[in-house]
């Protein structure tokens, strides 16, 4: 059982993501923006993985910036990105090394599969 920090600015999407992850037996923490997510990451809260949207409110690549800061704070943190945008090479170059991106719309099975692989790696 792992602890996953979900960062998603759309309330419904965030809550369904929580449901999908909890259904596979993990605990979830939720944040709607970068600052909220950093509060969790700077705290003593145990977190195994970060599941973040890339386009966060007005920040087109907010999720990429967040993941970089998160890895500085917690170098062993696993990261899974998601986005509704086309993932081009420029965007991939901003990804933290060894991470994955799950494109939207994702199903509960795809999200659970990606997280299982990420946590097993």
């Amino acid at each position: 059982m792992a602890v996953i920090l979900i960062v998603e600015d759309e309330v419904f999407i965030r809550e369904t993501a929580e449901m999908m992850i909890q259904d596979s037996g993990h605990h979830t923490l939720s944040a709607s923006d970068v600052n909220e997510a950093l509060s969790f990451l700077r705290s003593s809260q145990h977190i195994d993985a970060l599941f973040t949207d890339i386009y966060l409110k007005t920040l087109f690549l907010g999720g990429c910036d967040l993941a970089r800061q998160a890895i500085k704070l917690r170098p062993k943190l696993r990261v899974l990105y998601t986005t509704g945008n086309y993932v081009n090479d420029k965007m991939k170059a901003l990804f933290v090394e060894g991470t994955q991106c799950l494109p939207k719309p994702y199903t509960q099975y795809q999200l659970q599969g990606c997280l299982a692989a990420l946590l097993a790696a």
């Binding site: 759309e10 419904f12 999407i13 369904t16 993501a17 449901m19 999908m20 259904d23 386009y55 087109f60 986005t83 509704g84 945008n85 086309y86 799950l102 494109p103 939207k104 719309p105 994702y106 199903t107 509960q108 099975y109 795809q110 659970q112 599969g113 990606c114 299982a116």
Partner: protein, 467 residues
């Protein structure tokens, strides 16, 4: 035999230059073989003849008169005196004449030795070359995009008026300087330098090298650099044409369009995510037999979303790359194969074929339906191989979805969900104007072949969009 042993007459007869000897009255006393060959004459017609009278007075040339009567009397020798004349026997020629006074012991009048070299071809080539460069310069000045011509050593030979105007410099400030030294060294980019160095020796043109920077007096600009080797006819020297295309406005329009595409894509995908989330929520509280139906519905939405990614990267009128689309569908289906189905792998074999975006939706849904059927029914033990293949067969596209599973059972009473799946397949095939190719029942596995018209590609051919 030593050189000193060779008779002077042998040397005179061997040299390729035409030689004639004149006495003080300008009568020809002798000429060599090269002279007779060059001017198509003989010793009988030549010797003793006044040079001006030679060959029907064809040597009565004002320039030659000037040389013989005004220059030679005052100088011991003249070199490189150029005479251009229409000779009746050999046509218009340019001759380079070297003249030297020769005195024999006791002879105060002396003789004049004329060495005549036909330089017509060389001069013609030089003129042609000059004309070419004048033409080049005119073209250079006419082209609206700024450009420079570079020498082998990367220094600027000439810059167009557009270049000088745009960058606010003079011709003198550019001539002999390297491009990397211009302005505030904006062009001093190692990657560009590396490419420029290959243009001449390897005849490797540069196409669309982009540089974005702040330029004095211009502000932030984006330039597209193109370079290629240019050669002069009849000259082994090569030069390079370097064109600076200002693409700032075009780049801004592209960035605006991309930003809008990203915004729309973000909203559409989030809306689709909400729908997939709603289905996931329903599936959580529904009876197990219905869950499969919800799962299939989510996969269908996923197939349309993947297509949207491909289309959103294109502009109006472009086509969708079928092979890339198949790979995206396979990737999404594979990501769903977890738990007891994780032993199923999906392979894609696709020729680079294209379909227009309007027909790509039913095509994608058709592939999704067939692959989902294979996943659902072919592998009761959760292990197997599915192949998605598309190729051109004659004037048709053949889509093959094959698996190495248990094969179709001839029960005759398909479940409602299976019946609905095959109904969808039939609808999508009809929509695409295709046919399902009947296949033999196999001992293992199932192969579905569908022939679709090649007209899935819009007429006129369009730019291909890959994933």
């Amino acid at each position: 035999m030593a050189v000193s042993d060779i008779a002077a007459s042998d040397i005179v007869e061997t040299v390729p230059s035409a030689l004639i000897v004149l006495d003080r009255n300008l009568n020809i006393t002798s000429a060599n073989r090269a002279f007779y060959q060059m001017f198509r004459t003989s010793a009988d017609e030549t010797e003793g003849c006044l040079i001006y009278d030679l060959g029907n007075r064809q040597w009565d040339i004002p320039a030659l008169r000037t040389l013989l009567e005004s220059v030679i009397p005052h100088r011991a020798s003249v070199e490189g005196f150029e005479v251009e004349h229409d000779f009746p026997t050999i046509g218009r020629r340019t001759m380079l004449v070297n003249a030297r006074k020769i005195f024999r012991p006791g002879d105060h009048d002396g003789f004049i030795l004329l060495a005549i070299e036909d330089v017509s071809e060389e001069r013609a080539a030089r003129k042609e070359s000059k004309r070419n460069w004048q033409l080049t310069q005119s073209i250079v000045d006419t082209i609206r995009d700024p450009l420079v011509v570079l020498e082998n050593d990367m220094t600027i030979v000439t810059a167009s008026k557009a270049f000088l105007t745009m960058f606010g410099i003079t011709a003198a400030e550019t001539h002999g300087r390297r491009v990397s030294e211009l302005g505030q060294h904006q062009w001093d980019v190692p990657a560009l330098r590396h490419l420029l160095e290959k243009v001449l020796p390897e005849n490797k043109p540069i196409e669309g090298f982009e540089i974005e920077d702040d330029f004095p007096g211009l502000g932030r600009r984006v330039f597209n650099l193109n370079a290629r080797k240019v050669s002069q006819p009849g000259n082994n020297a090569h030069r390079m044409l370097l064109v600076f295309e200002d693409i700032t406005d075009r780049k801004q329009r592209e960035r605006d369009a991309l930003s809008l595409t990203n915004e729309i894509s973000h909203r559409i995908k989030n809306n689709l995510q909400v729908i997939v989330g709603l289905i996931a929520y329903e599936a959580k509280w529904t009876a197990a037999p219905c869950v499969q139906g919800y799962k299939v519905m989510q996969a269908r939405i996923g197939a349309i979303a993947q297509l949207y990614d491909l289309i959103s990267q294109s502009s109006r009128g472009r086509t969708v790359a079928v092979d890339s689309y198949l790979r995206e569908i396979a990737k999404a289906l594979s990501a769903s194969l977890i738990g007891n189905m994780s032993g199923i792998d999906i392979e894609v074999k696709g020729e680079p074929l294209e379909i227009d975006p309007d027909r790509a939706v039913p095509f994608g849904l058709l592939v999704n339906e067939l692959a989902t059927n294979a996943i659902k029914h072919a592998f009761p033990h959760g292990t197997g191989h599915i192949m998605l293949c598309v190729e051109q067969v004659g004037d048709q596209i053949e889509l093959v979805v094959a698996d190495d599973g248990v094969g179709m059972k001839d029960t005759g009473s398909a479940k409602v969900s299976e019946k609905r799946g095959s109904d969808y397949v039939a609808i999508f095939v009809r929509q695409l104007g295709g046919t399902i190719v009947p296949s033999k029942r196999e001992l293992t596995g199932t192969t579905v072949r569908i022939r679709l018209p090649l007209l899935l590609v819009p007429p006129g051919g369009a730019e291909r969009v890959a994933a």
